[in-house]
Structures are given as C-alpha cells and as structure tokens.
C-alpha cells in the first residue's frame, strides 16, 4: 500500500518534470518544493543544502570572537534552517589565521565556535543539537598568507554531523 503510494507519487513527479521543459534541472533553493529522485539540487537538510542555500560559515575580525552583522545574518538563516530540520545535528568548528601561536589559537577558535553556538541557542536552537570544536590555525581554508586569506581563515564553520 505504502510502496504503491510512493511509486505513484514518484511517477507523478517524473511526469511533471518531463512535461514542464522549462523547469527541468531547476534547483529547489527555497526549500518549499518536495523533492523526488529525479529533481536535482542538494538534498534538503543536508550539508550541501546548508552550504548552497543558507551559508555554513561566519567570519571574524583579527583576534576577535565578536559576531559581525553579516555573521548574525548568516546565523539567523542557520537557526531557521535548523528549526526546519529538527533532526539535524551540527558541529561548529572555530578556525583562526596563522598570526597567533598554536596554543592560543586553539582557545581562540573555541571562543569563536562558542560565540556562534551561543547565538544560535539564543535564537532557540537546542544546545544539545550542536557540538563545538576548534582547529586553531591548523585547517586554513585559504592556504596563502595575506590579508585576504587570513580573513577567510578566521571563521566558525557549521557542518552537519
């Protein structure tokens, strides 16, 4: 019975996709279209969905864990997204540029991850859905050494566990 329903639903979607040539391959970035196997785009509630449609990363000033307006905007979207997918658990990793020592940057990265986590908690995301970690200066997403790279590397990055 259940199986039949699903295959019927799938067939309907397939028909819709075939019928509407204009919509072929359209992504579901706004998240309000149910997805079947034939629709491309990130799986809702996945890491790819978070990266493509929400933003997984917030950035910080040098030696700071203060959330900028941009950071808050991204975290607001993350909070909405996390409420929409209540079964999703995330890890928030704090990262640093390499203009501090190894040991201090472990703590600074933790400070940044906690700042992002605490803000999400204040927006109503349950704290037990989130863990934090710090990689200090040991996982720089930008591998160069200049202001542009350093500003990329000072971040808190949310990933689906």
């Amino acid at each position: 019975m259940k199986l039949k329903l699903i295959s019927a639903f799938g067939a309907a979607l397939l028909l819709a996709a075939c019928g509407g040539g204009d919509h072929k391959g359209a992504t579901t970035g706004n998240g309000n279209v149910s997805q079947g196997p034939s629709v491309s785009g990130p799986v809702p509630g996945s890491q790819a969905d978070l990266v493509a449609n929400v933003g997984d990363r917030v950035f910080f000033e040098f030696n700071s864990n203060k959330l900028t307006d941009d950071a808050r905007a991204t975290l607001n979207r993350q909070a909405d997204w996390l409420k929409k997918y209540p079964n999703v658990q995330v890890m928030i990793a704090g990262n640093c540029d390499d203009r501090g020592t190894e040991e201090y940057n472990i703590a600074l990265g933790s400070r940044r991850a906690n700042a992002a986590r605490d803000y999400l908690v204040s927006l109503g995301v349950a704290s037990d859905r989130m863990t934090t970690i710090s990689y200090g200066k040991d996982k720089p997403i930008a591998e160069g050494d200049n202001e542009e790279a350093w500003s990329q590397n000072r971040n808190a990055t949310t990933s689906v566990r």
């Binding site: 864990n65 890890m91 390499d98 203009r99 501090g100 020592t101 190894e102 040991e103 201090y104 472990i106 703590a107 600074l108 933790s110 400070r111 906690n114 700042a115 863990t131 970690i133 710090s134 990689y135 200090g136 040991d138 996982k139 720089p140 997403i141 930008a142 591998e143 160069g144 050494d145 790279a149």
Partner: protein, 452 residues
C-alpha cells in the same frame, strides 16, 4: 666560572650498564657497557690544569678528534665531529692517527687545547680526553656495544655520549647530544594536513613516526625522564590531552574534561601535567595528577589562560593570558591563586618556557613586524630578542638551558606555495642559528632531557 670538572668526579665512573630500551613495540634487550680506562699518562701540574673557557668562548675551542676507524668507527668520528662543531663552541681539528699517547708538542703548535684519542673495534670503543697544554688525561672510558642491539643506532649513541663527556669536561655544563626531539610531522595539503607524532635524535637522525595520521595531533611535550610524551589528539573529533608511553607504545587520555584540553606540560617531578581547558570564551589552567587522575583547577579568569610551564623547582608556573586585553606573560604559584604580569613590551607575548637553569624565560612576541623569539629574566627584566621570522614559535630548551629549539615557518603564497615549516636551534646568546633536518615539514618541537 669553573671550567673543568675534577678528576674525583670523573673517577666516580664505575661500571654502569645503561639500559637501552627500544621505543615502540618489541623491546629488544641490548645495552652499552661503560667502563673507566686507567690513566696512561696522568700527572698533576699545579696551576696549569684548566682551560680558560671564558676566553675560549669568544672563539671556538680547538680540539683534536681522531679517526676512530673504518665503518662504525668512521660513523662515530663523523657524529662526534658534527656534535662538537654544531655547538659553535668547539673547532674540530681532524687527526688521522688514533695514537694512544698523543704528540702534545705538535698539537700545541697547531693550537689545540684538547686532544681526543681512541678507536672502535668490533663494537668496543675506547676514548680518552687529554688536556693539550698539560699532557694530562682528563677522561678515559671504554664503551662495549652489545651485539643484540642495532649497531648503527648504538654507535651514534656512543658518539653522542662521548661528545657529552667532552662538552661537560671542557665547558662545565651537561652536554645535550644524547637527547631527542619530539615534534609534529606534517604532510599533505596545508588546508587538510596530516599531522603525526614523531621523534628524532637531536641531530635529525633516527626519525620515527609514532601515530597513524588519521587524527590531528599537536603540541607533544616530553616527560622529565623522557619516557612519555603528553600531546593533544583529535581522536573521534574530541580534542584532548593524551599520554604516549614510548616503551609500550600505548596511549591514554589524560585531559578528560567537557571542554577541549590542550597545551600540556609536565611538572619537573614528572608526577603531574599542567594544561589548558576551554570554558566559554576562555580557557582555565588545571594540573592533572598522573597517578590518581585528580584534577586541580589553577586559574578561573574567564580569559584565555594557556601555555603553562613550571619553574625548574616546580614552585611556580609561567603562562600567557589575555585577561588584560592583549596576551601577556604572568607568573603564579604552582598551586594557583594570584598571578603577576612580567611582560610589558609592545605587541603580545605567548608560549613561555622556563629554562632548566631557572634564569630565563623564553617566549614568542608578536608585533607589527611578525613573530620574534626572545628571552627575559623571570622578573621580566633583561628582555632580549634572539631571532625573528614570519612565524617563529614553540621554543624548547635543551637540558642545560644554553640552546633553544623552535619552529620556523615561512609565509605561503597563493594555494600554499612556498610554505615551509622546520625545526631550528639557536643559542640563548642569539648566535648560531641552524636547522635540524627532517624528512617532512616539522613543527611543535619538544627537547628531551635524556634518552631513555
């Protein structure tokens, strides 16, 4: 300053079996037997039995080193020669003939102040040290390498032991040649590095990798007797301080806290490890007893308190904290409580380590021009910068406090090109900076105080 240790001290040498344990699995019994050699030509000449070291320090002490033989003997000669030359305090004069009694007159003409004679035959090494000015034998020792061990490693070790004797007899400080350095070996992309725990002899020989590389490892720190390493590992994405036993190869969790534990450092008695533990926006210092596992909280500032290091007598701890804004160095009692600030220069100060002599604290200073490595007295006076670089950090003293090893990194171009990370050494005088060869990028050095 006393320059030569008395012969009574030297004569204390009895037959001693130095246990030699293979690190990692499968301990093979082997050993190096050490026996004193009687003086061939010992005579006292009052008033003439000291080498004027203070004068000699301005220029290296000329010392004659013979060729100990072929094969193993030539390895010994090279390792010993490098040990002495690398200090910058000796100038080795090579000699072809290992004669039993040197021709003092001709060596004196060459300017030699000390003469070594000796040979290696089938794993038995004889070594004598002579004062070139007086003709007196200062030391005579025979080393027998047991056949069950690794001859290649043991011959290097005997060379380092002989070097340590020469260093101590001529300079009055313990030698640091028979020591090792624990470090983090890095491979792979800079953005997704593989980091493994590794150890090498102080001169870059006998490299060994200790961990598999699946998880990040950081900040290895030798125990005082050099048989254990405290380090930070990201196993199961739970970064914490672990203990690695070099005899058994076993690891165990040491910093079991709800926060991240990091920046470990052994107490001088080896009974506890002090470390940082993240909490909220900061990190607190704790000491963890190795026997009972009990934890004792030392700071509670709400700021980032980290990089703790004991004074050599174990009574105080120097650490860095940003409790006053920028990171500065503070000293407190080893049992915690109030701390007083000792660093006041421009920029921020981090990563302090206390010299085993007690007289200096080495630190990293970060300012407008990048990273500097410096030393100051424990009361904060006499700050001197020893070296600078794009990144110079993680200073670690050799056992006699005269030399620092540290991590030196270059700036990377786009996509990480040109990035390098290596271990360097520099005298606390600021002279004689040099690199230690490693097969991969290397960081986070920790210098052992022995070689168990």
């Amino acid at each position: 300053m006393r320059s030569i240790i008395s012969d009574q001290d030297a004569d204390i040498l009895r037959e001693v079996l130095i246990p030699r344990r293979k690190i990692l699995y499968g301990c093979m019994a082997s050993g190096i037997m050490m026996t004193p050699l009687s003086s061939v030509f010992a005579q006292q000449q009052a008033g003439a039995d000291e080498i004027m070291v203070d004068r000699a320090r301005n220029e290296p002490i000329p010392i004659v080193i013979p060729n100990f033989g072929l094969g193993n003997g030539s390895v010994l000669t090279k390792v010993l020669t490098d040990d002495l030359n690398n200090t910058g305090l000796f100038r080795v004069i090579s000699s072809t003939s290992p004669t039993s009694t040197p021709d003092f007159t001709s060596y004196k003409v060459m300017g030699a102040r000390a003469i070594v004679t000796g040979s290696e035959v089938n794993g038995r090494v004889e070594f004598r040290l002579w004062n070139a000015l007086t003709g007196e034998q200062m030391q005579g020792t025979a080393y027998s390498i047991s056949a069950s061990g690794s001859m290649g490693e043991d011959i290097r070790r005997v060379a380092h032991m002989i070097g340590d004797v020469i260093y101590e007899r001529l300079l009055g400080d313990k030698g640091y040649f028979n020591t090792r350095i624990a470090y983090v070996a890095q491979t792979g992309r800079r953005s997704e590095p593989t980091k493994r725990l590794a150890i090498i002899d102080y001169d870059g020989a006998n490299s060994r990798i200790l961990t598999g590389g699946r998880w990040l490892v950081l900040t290895p720190r030798f125990s005082p007797v050099s048989n254990q390493i405290a380090f930070m590992s990201y196993v199961n994405n739970r970064p914490r301080v672990y203990l690695f036993n070099l005899q058994s190869g076993q690891q165990r969790i040491l910093g079991d806290f709800s926060g991240i534990s990091f920046a470990p450092r052994f107490s001088p008695d080896g009974r506890s490890v002090v470390m940082s533990v993240t909490r909220g926006a900061g990190s607190d210092l704790y000491s963890v007893d190795l026997g009972s596992g009990s934890k004792h909280q030392l700071t509670n500032s709400g700021a980032i308190d980290t990089s703790p290091c004991y004074s050599p007598d174990g009574s105080q701890i120097v650490f860095s904290s940003d409790r006053g804004g920028r990171q500065q160095l503070y000293i407190m009692s080893a049992s915690g409580g109030g701390a007083h600030r000792i660093s006041y220069g421009n920029g921020s100060y981090a990563g302090p380590v206390w010299s085993p002599r007690g007289d200096l604290i080495a630190f990293v200073r970060i300012g407008g021009s990048g990273f500097s490595l410096g030393v100051m007295a424990p009361d904060g006076t006499g700050e001197r910068i020893l070296t600078q670089g794009f990144t110079v950090e993680s200073p670690t003293f050799c056992l006699n406090g005269r030399v620092l090893a540290f991590c030196n990194q270059s700036a990377a171009g786009s996509r990480g090109s040109g990035f390098s990370s290596s271990i360097k050494m520099i005298d606390v005088t600021g002279f004689h900076e040099r690199s230690i060869p490693t097969s991969t990028m290397a960081m986070d050095p920790s210098w052992s105080s022995g070689n168990s």
